[in-house]
């Protein structure tokens, strides 16, 4: 099964779960594919900046993320499902973000 078929299958699954009645079009499939490629490539390029910390660490993390991204592909339909307008998921991510920010500020500034 090639990547295009994987994306189509996944979109159909999500449409079934969310009871969407709209047909799957070329535009929606190609948009999902473009978003998928943008997400993975941007993430990998951003991770290359870890070279400023340690080159070996950068290579290991980039390769690991690349393998994980390929394994869990397609990511975008899952991401879209998570980033919905449900208040529960919004407040969940807000609390998670608050925790991460406060932890990182403490750890980052006292240990860098």
């Amino acid at each position: 099964m090639n990547i295009y078929d994987v994306v189509l299958k996944r979109i159909r699954e999500i449409q079934t779960k969310t009871e969407e009645q709209e047909p799957l079009t070329n535009i929606s499939a190609s948009s999902t594919l473009a978003a998928e490629i943008t997400l993975i490539s941007s993430l990998l390029i951003a991770l290359v900046m870890l070279r400023l910390v340690n080159t070996v660490l950068m290579i290991v993390i980039v390769l690991a993320v690349f393998v994980v991204a390929l394994t869990f592909m397609p990511i975008m339909p899952r991401l879209k499902r998570e980033q919905n307008d449900s208040f529960n998921s919004m407040i969940f991510f807000v609390i998670v973000a608050l925790g991460i920010i406060i932890t990182l500020f403490y750890w980052g500034n006292l240990n860098v």
């Binding site: 709209e22 079009t25 535009i27 929606s28 948009s31 999902t32 473009a34 978003a35 943008t38 997400l39 490539s41 941007s42 993430l43 390029i45 951003a46 290359v48 900046m49 400023l52 975008m76 991401l79 879209k80 980033q83 919905n84 307008d85 208040f87 919004m90 407040i91 991510f93 807000v94 998670v96 973000a97 608050l98 920010i101 406060i102 990182l104 500020f105 403490y106 980052g108 500034n109 006292l110 860098v112």
Partner: protein, 498 residues
């Protein structure tokens, strides 16, 4: 003191209150609102640079009349330079930002008054009140005063959504308000911690305390304050994890309202970003956090925009993604990076307003925002289609339009700062932005009109076309002569260099 500085805030507030009192007197509301809205962008152009002290006086160091009667232990301490008043600063950067905010407010109000048969005093009230609040956020040097206006801006945003009469607007407004009730008190707590440590809410005084050993810069309470203020910054500007609700907010407002709301977000983002840089730039992690959050905003904004079918939601997510460019400029911490970031902020506010007003014509003609149900509108109005296309090209950074200049400067700044990866990501995201816009443009304007689509016979108001032409003119002028803005922004950028 320059009396025109407080007028930039007081005039829209006074007009807002008056319009509310004049509810249902439509003709009077129209005349008064347009006259005041036209004045708002003119004031920063004619005002001279300086400071204004509300409810107090200049610091003792600048005020010999009071200082000479005080004992030496006061005049020789930090109190000598502290600001005992709410201080407003008006400089070249504030000039250009308040002008652009005023221009967008004028065009949004002008368009709304002409698209609505019965202009509501309440709706215009909210637009003026929000403009006044964000102008104050840009001008104030007092972080508590900033918080007060931050809350006013948040409430007016909720009000604009509620007054918009778009399907499910109440639900979105309620969600935004509840999330605000989590984030805004945390911002206030961060400000309270700063006050507790430094004994002042004046930003210049706080920086003085940190730089002159009055407060230990590595105090963990200060780190907590920084984290909380950053969290408030995310909420105010719609950065992740608030990008979903922010894009929903834009999509539930009327197009002219959304044009103004996104300008509020952009300038709140800039004002709080500058404050974080000014106070916390000595923390090594602050810069990294700004860059990481900005990258997240760019990547999530653009990928989510690609997945949407509602054009208002597409622009909403694109607007969130574009905020990332500004953040990267600020996070780079170099003079070129900050100047480019601030320039991008101005450009983004103009272009997104242009897009919202442009795509608003589609809503005006069809009352539909779902791209799957639209098509063939180019035949209906080719001139408007051309203007919308130019707005999309501007957002993608196509020369000779304004975002080309700011994005090019941002890429140059990232390469100069030794982070070419950021430049590559910005180029990639620009390409995908163009693709996302073209997807929406094709489905709305270029593909054959669906049989079931009904297009009304109403002519698009001339005010809407004029607003789009003005915004296009600003895009072209800033694209051909970027130094008009960058020269004014550079002064602030130089003072912020990390």
């Amino acid at each position: 003191m320059n009396p025109l500085i407080p007028i930039m805030v007081i005039l829209p507030i006074a007009c807002a209150l008056l319009l509310n009192l004049l509810h249902k007197k439509d003709k009077t509301i129209k005349i008064l609102a347009i006259l005041v809205a036209l004045t708002i962008p003119i004031i920063p152009l004619i005002a001279s640079y300086g400071t204004y002290f509300f409810g107090g006086y200049a610091p003792l160091a600048e005020n010999s009349a009071i200082a000479q009667n005080l004992p030496a232990f006061i005049t020789s301490s930090a109190l000598n330079v502290f600001h005992p008043a709410i201080t407003y600063n008006f400089d070249s950067a504030q000039k250009v930002m308040v002008f652009i905010l005023g221009l967008i407010a004028f065009l949004a109000i002008f368009t709304s008054l002409n698209e609505t048969k019965k202009p509501s005093g309440v709706y215009a009230f909210l637009m003026f009140m929000g403009t006044a609040a964000v102008s104050a956020i840009l001008l104030t040097d007092d972080i508590f005063n900033l918080y007060v206006f931050f809350e006013i801006a948040a409430i007016t945003q909720v009000g604009i959504i509620v007054a918009s009469k778009v399907k499910n607007n109440y639900e979105t407004a309620l969600k935004y308000m509840i999330l605000g009730s989590v984030a805004a008190p945390l911002l206030l707590l961060g400000i309270a911690l700063l006050l507790g440590l430094t004994g002042s809410v004046n930003i210049t005084d706080i920086i003085y305390s940190l730089k002159n050993g009055v407060v230990d810069p590595q105090n963990p309470v200060l780190l907590m304050a920084c984290g909380l203020i950053v969290f408030g910054w995310l909420y105010g500007s719609g950065l992740p994890p608030f990008h979903t609700i922010k894009s929903a907010v834009y999509s539930k407002a009327l197009p002219h309202g959304a044009a103004l709301l996104q300008a509020f977000s952009v300038f709140t983002f800039v004002a709080l970003g500058i404050i974080i840089l000014r106070i916390f730039s000595f923390l090594p992690f602050a810069q990294i956090v700004i860059i990481v959050i900005s990258l997240l905003a760019m990547i999530l904004g653009i990928t989510m925009a690609l997945m949407q079918n509602d054009f208002k939601r597409i622009i909403g997510y694109l607007a969130v993604g574009e905020l990332g460019y500004i953040g990267i400029g600020l996070g780079l911490g170099t003079a070129l990076g900050i100047t480019a970031g601030l320039f991008q902020a101005i450009n983004e506010a103009i272009i997104t307003a242009f897009l919202f007003i442009g795509f608003g014509t589609v809503l005006y003609k069809t009352s539909i925002s779902d791209t799957r149900k639209l098509g063939g509108l180019m035949i209906e109005n080719p001139k408007v289609a051309l203007l919308v296309l130019l707005a999309g090209l501007a957002m993608a950074g196509v020369p000779p339009l304004n975002a080309f200049q700011s994005k090019l400067q941002l890429i140059q700044a990232s390469i100069s700062a030794g982070l070419p990866e950021l430049g590559i990501i910005m180029i990639l995201i620009s390409i995908v932005t163009f693709m996302t816009f073209m997807k929406a443009f094709y489905t709305i304007f270029m593909r054959p009109k669906p049989v079931e689509l009904e297009i009304n016979d109403k002519n698009i108001p001339k005010a809407t076309i004029i607003s789009m032409l003005v915004l296009l003119a600003v895009c072209i002028i800033l694209g051909l002569f970027p130094q008009i803005a960058t020269d004014l922004l550079q002064v602030l950028a130089n003072s912020l260099v990390i």
